[in-house]
Symmetry: D2
Amino acid sequence: MKYYENHAEDVNIAYIGGGSRGWAWGLMSDLASQDILTGTVRLYDIDKEAANANVIIGNKAKDAEGAKSSWKYISCDSLKEALTGADFVVISILPGTFDEMASDVHEPEKYGIYQSVGDTAGPGGLVRALRTIPMYKPIAEAIRDFSPNAWVINYTNPMSLCVTALYHYFPKIKAFGCCHEVFSTQKLLSTALEELRGIKDAKRSDICVNVQGINHFTWLSSGYYRNIDLVGVYREFVEKYYKNGFEGMNEKDHWMNSTFACAHRVKFDLFKRYGCIAAAGDRHLAEFMPGKMYLADPDTVKSWKFGLTTVDWRKNDLKERLAKSKRLVSGEEEFKLRQTGEEGVNMMQALAGYKTLVSNVNIPNIGQCPDLPMGAVTETNAVFRHDTVTPVCAGKMTNEIHAMVSRHIHNHRTIMHASSNNDADAAFTAFINDPLVTCSYADAKKLFKAMLMNTAKYLPEELISGI
Amino acid sequence: MKYYENHAEDVNIAYIGGGSRGWAWGLMSDLASQDILTGTVRLYDIDKEAANANVIIGNKAKDAEGAKSSWKYISCDSLKEALTGADFVVISILPGTFDEMASDVHEPEKYGIYQSVGDTAGPGGLVRALRTIPMYKPIAEAIRDFSPNAWVINYTNPMSLCVTALYHYFPKIKAFGCCHEVFSTQKLLSTALEELRGIKDAKRSDICVNVQGINHFTWLSSGYYRNIDLVGVYREFVEKYYKNGFEGMNEKDHWMNSTFACAHRVKFDLFKRYGCIAAAGDRHLAEFMPGKMYLADPDTVKSWKFGLTTVDWRKNDLKERLAKSKRLVSGEEEFKLRQTGEEGVNMMQALAGYKTLVSNVNIPNIGQCPDLPMGAVTETNAVFRHDTVTPVCAGKMTNEIHAMVSRHIHNHRTIMHASSNNDADAAFTAFINDPLVTCSYADAKKLFKAMLMNTAKYLPEELISGI
Amino acid sequence: MKYYENHAEDVNIAYIGGGSRGWAWGLMSDLASQDILTGTVRLYDIDKEAANANVIIGNKAKDAEGAKSSWKYISCDSLKEALTGADFVVISILPGTFDEMASDVHEPEKYGIYQSVGDTAGPGGLVRALRTIPMYKPIAEAIRDFSPNAWVINYTNPMSLCVTALYHYFPKIKAFGCCHEVFSTQKLLSTALEELRGIKDAKRSDICVNVQGINHFTWLSSGYYRNIDLVGVYREFVEKYYKNGFEGMNEKDHWMNSTFACAHRVKFDLFKRYGCIAAAGDRHLAEFMPGKMYLADPDTVKSWKFGLTTVDWRKNDLKERLAKSKRLVSGEEEFKLRQTGEEGVNMMQALAGYKTLVSNVNIPNIGQCPDLPMGAVTETNAVFRHDTVTPVCAGKMTNEIHAMVSRHIHNHRTIMHASSNNDADAAFTAFINDPLVTCSYADAKKLFKAMLMNTAKYLPEELISGI
Amino acid sequence: MKYYENHAEDVNIAYIGGGSRGWAWGLMSDLASQDILTGTVRLYDIDKEAANANVIIGNKAKDAEGAKSSWKYISCDSLKEALTGADFVVISILPGTFDEMASDVHEPEKYGIYQSVGDTAGPGGLVRALRTIPMYKPIAEAIRDFSPNAWVINYTNPMSLCVTALYHYFPKIKAFGCCHEVFSTQKLLSTALEELRGIKDAKRSDICVNVQGINHFTWLSSGYYRNIDLVGVYREFVEKYYKNGFEGMNEKDHWMNSTFACAHRVKFDLFKRYGCIAAAGDRHLAEFMPGKMYLADPDTVKSWKFGLTTVDWRKNDLKERLAKSKRLVSGEEEFKLRQTGEEGVNMMQALAGYKTLVSNVNIPNIGQCPDLPMGAVTETNAVFRHDTVTPVCAGKMTNEIHAMVSRHIHNHRTIMHASSNNDADAAFTAFINDPLVTCSYADAKKLFKAMLMNTAKYLPEELISGI
């Protein structure tokens, strides 16, 4: 990277994964839309064809309407090639295929365990972690060998364990995980601010909140817009919409029309119970709570007005994206810049020293959550500036939220230990302790075995032999 | 107290409560059976008649067969009278009557919540705490005023919160809580040692275990008898008896014949899940776990081979004890010394400087459980010597047990705060966070109100008005 | 305060103290130089005349060259009058007079104890704290009663104990302490960057450093300008100038010409010993170290090339400022805006929601210094945004620096306890533990008594009677 | 080891070192004087001749007057031979020779740094640690390989770092360090009890004290004999003897007649300053305090009435012991049992399950000192029972003592790191931070180099090359 007064050139970004297209196109869009950084993006995907397609699309971005800078896209044959010389590394992979994910999400249903996402917590999230961590080992080691000073941004789930694995296998890595779930809650607060206080156009980034917890089970303990206490505003909002949920302002957002949308009923219920604002989509939040609470069965889920994202839906969605990719490559469809709302590129600008940014991030605990174990990956705000990411002190959680969060953090630690030591017994200990695993000891054992066998292709032999 | 080389005279014990007879008679028996301490016991009970009956019975103890020392029993009209000059204070009260306890235990059944004891955790335990803490306030203050240097031994449940309340209202109190549940597990280990290793007559006090956790949800992380690893022995024992349970060695102990006995199936299941030895009766242990696990409904309870102790049984049991009291007072029945197996009197001897004793005790955390909050009342071993009780370092718990225990500790803190501030909302937060409270937010609110109204006679007005 | 899109009106600032003029004129200058905030400053000083003079001067600021906004200055008769309605409170008082300060600084010289400032650590700092804390009690209580939601900025020394006292007497206060000593070190780094790397015009605020420790004994564990490791740059700089010191770039800054300047030899020596950048003037740093190290006697001080600031110098300096005040009031001299380099007004803008600012600040530890006691006032960076000040995680210190800093923090706690309980014995314990107090126990006792008697006019009777 | 009801046979003890005779003879005496354990002692010393002499002497012990049990002594050629099959391992070596120790103690005198012992803290202690740790590496590894389940008792100084090294190189070791310095303070308290309260014959083990800190810088925060507060008794004692010291009850103990005795003036001064009872000989205590306090120069030492133990004295003392050894071997002198007052053999009995013992011990911190770093070797009481050593919770130290102790603990960590990484720079950081090192940075560097070169024969090449 070459630094000039108001911009930098020759910035090198290594992008690992991206075959699924969605995230990659967003990044292309965000890079083209700004003019502080310019340089090269090196794409590496185990699906080389996918990377090649993205090269073609990415190189078109500079010509899209609104483009302010030109980036060069290259496809690489190895991690080494992609990483050497990188200033930034972006990781966004799909661990395994949707077939493995189908087992993660749907196998537990045989034992009455329903999951709305299945990629973070719950039996699905834990097994996905066991599959993903061994993939992260060579990535972390390659970063150690070829770009030890690069900033590494992770987008893959399960977020907490992916970031944990990066630090486990390369302790000096400069990595963090980005997630937009908190942003949605900031937008909800902005909506409440308009509806209840008549304040229009409060920008999301001006909804100043204190973030605590872990990814997808993140809590806002306080919030301010100027001198307005946003928790107070939210309390009114919850009272108004508790019973029927808040169903969004336009059709597209309606929870019945969108797999990802929700009516926030889970979020509102959690607020009434715990007094803090849960800051993720209801589909994610529900998976961290005791199994019979929001996910007892499909009818219960329906009553709480959120959806179970099936893997069939995902397969179909991917198909559509691949079709779109073809059209973009062929030129049949034009690549258009869009506002992703993601902060990855803003963070790069800040790390290069061109702005100061405060945003939520997943990073090992060095005291930002003083009542959680040091070293555990937690989600809080952090300050991004000249080559540094410094978490801010998020303070202690309430007793009740602490108890819920730390249970999952303990499970993360156990899974990381289990994976790095190929200790299937330890992994099962975490599995049986997940609040969604409500079946008997014997059934849990059967389910665990079945799920591991379904994903055996991606597991180390030593782990499988210990089941 | 007057110290001589091998014994002390003029020891003063204040006994608060005892109207229910059981504990009081045990203490009389233990005091008469030893000859290191001798002196006076001052009885204070809100039921003066009960105290008077105990005076008559107590004064007979010195003449019982096997008695080695003579103690004088006096009945007092006030806490002040009982406490002034006391070297030791024993607290063993029934908070409210069995009518209130009937609500604690059975009201939640209307919402599908079953409790096997209902005096420690669960909705019953929490409401019982709200009733008990206000009774402990004047006791703690009287100790502060009339016997600030006395050692205070609590036997009342909910143990953790009773001890918490004593320290809350008189921070310099020298108090601890005694419970025999760990002893039973030591005996079970002794039985296993004999059955699997052929070692006979290992004394309970030589079953050397590391105790961690909170009262009635106590865990043994390690254990040794000489150089034998007792956890290994227990593992074999669990494998042997996991399926059908261990049903004791004689009829009287059989779980179907005794309200308090159990076949240890819950204990064995917990060992398989968590790798540590849960050290309390199954009836207690089950109440700390997620509601649908062991206490889903009476059939589930039956399948785990333990019993739900009904309050009707307790009422009947009390009736029998009162009848016996009459017979003892009248002389129709003779007072006999029996081995209680309790350690209260041993502890007094040690505190007076005549022996060194290591035993489990409930006392605020000063580091004995380094991963639990400082100040929280925890149960670990402690050393009793010359005027000191020093907890030993029990070390960190496993991740999973820590998560379960700390959830309850958080609830204790919330209840203590709620009670001392008459904050019904805070109390409800703890209530809804108890793992047995599996009903909806709305139902939980209804249940909470009903239970509080059922015990309203014993609650401060300010608390009730906040419901 | 009334919020508009890009500015706020009717901002109310209460200014307590200011009679010594310096700080007050700086604030007037900074307020007039910006146009985001505008409103009223209410001045309260025990020297009403001084406040009145400042009213006249302040009201002229809007007419000075370069003024962008108009502020109204009012003088108040009571704390209540000044504080009611305040959005911000600035505290900048002189505790006692220079006569008391003369004792703080010079009395210890009778026992061979030399102090270069005598207002923070050392015997002088501790006695000054004992005098100041009782003055802060009514201020904290008035803030609690009249402006509990105002942000309070402290400039008075001893900084750590002034902020500690504010939180002690009003735990919910929103207070922090500002100090510019770190700024100077940032400027020194900027100078080194130019001299050794040829980078010109790196702004102080772009010298991005990690701040740890306590006021006037603050350490930079890392620093970046873009991707340049500033610790590495500093290491070279130290090697170059270790022996003779770095004597500044112009005459005025030369340590022999200025009471406040230094040749940074102490700072460089500390870097060689401890590997981190001490970030305060040498005069302050020397006072935190063992007495015989840099302050053994005037010759030693001279060899380290910094100065002992005498109170005579201060008295003379004040005289000049009072003369200038007269000229400004009379119009004989014109009030000119100057760049103070202080960040107080920037912080106000950020707290009002108009920018995000990261700067160093003194505030109770909520985890920013995870190896220092929670609640202790520490100096680290913090994020200033919409009505919030959030410290960033400064991380653990090195073993050696931690040992030195925690010794002083322990002394702060002891002094706060001693002052609030009028416990002269406890105060003496802190006194004798200060590293500058190298005399015998008996001499320390004599010195302590003498110093307290010299400032007795400002001490509570109960404290004096305990000496 | 074979367990019987009241005794054990075939106990295997490996004794590493012992060539200096003193400790070895004491152990022989203690083993012969009891009848609970019996078995074999395997001696291993790099001086095989010394070991052989001890074999002859040891085998005579069973015939000494008062002997109750018979132990077999064998000399071994390797650690492997000595350790294989061991139940207990005793380590008592002299690291290097008295020539190296002469440098440790006397080289610093060239820079005005006096040390009274020079084997624990101060420049001498730190350099001795650098020489000793590499010797402990093969010992720890041999224990790991040949007797991983044995209990390891360390007597070598520097105690804290020897125990630290054992755990560093074999983390699962069951090791602890024994020191009798606290015993002497218990005896002093017993003396005070008799003199001031007329209580005769209070046994040392009944002087029940709470021990906190690190070896040779240990503090008693409280103490009881029955219900008597020993801190109160000690306060009176200090007042009485502060000025002139307490010079013992018989000639032999008088500080002028004995290198190891003292008049306790340092101990009394520390009590006046810090309010807790420092529990080690004055010679040791003085070395942990700032250099100019008690060890400024020989006259200062004399005024505090303790002695500087010269290495010449030690050399002479050894000569006398070697002469005695010859006489014992030849039969010219008879081996007599003596009361050593050490607790090593008691501890073995307790660990075998034949008693419960509470005594002070050096062991890694698992919470016994909650304000010191976890894992640091601290000295507190511990419970010895069936195959377990469990430290008791010693609680927090006072602010001032914490600050002093943690400084040394930080230095230990730095030295352990420096030694295991052969990092001479890190070692120098600890060196320059020791409170006795009061010279300038340049002089400290010279002294450090000289001391390391003087002991170079025992240092790894990699460490020396980094100087």
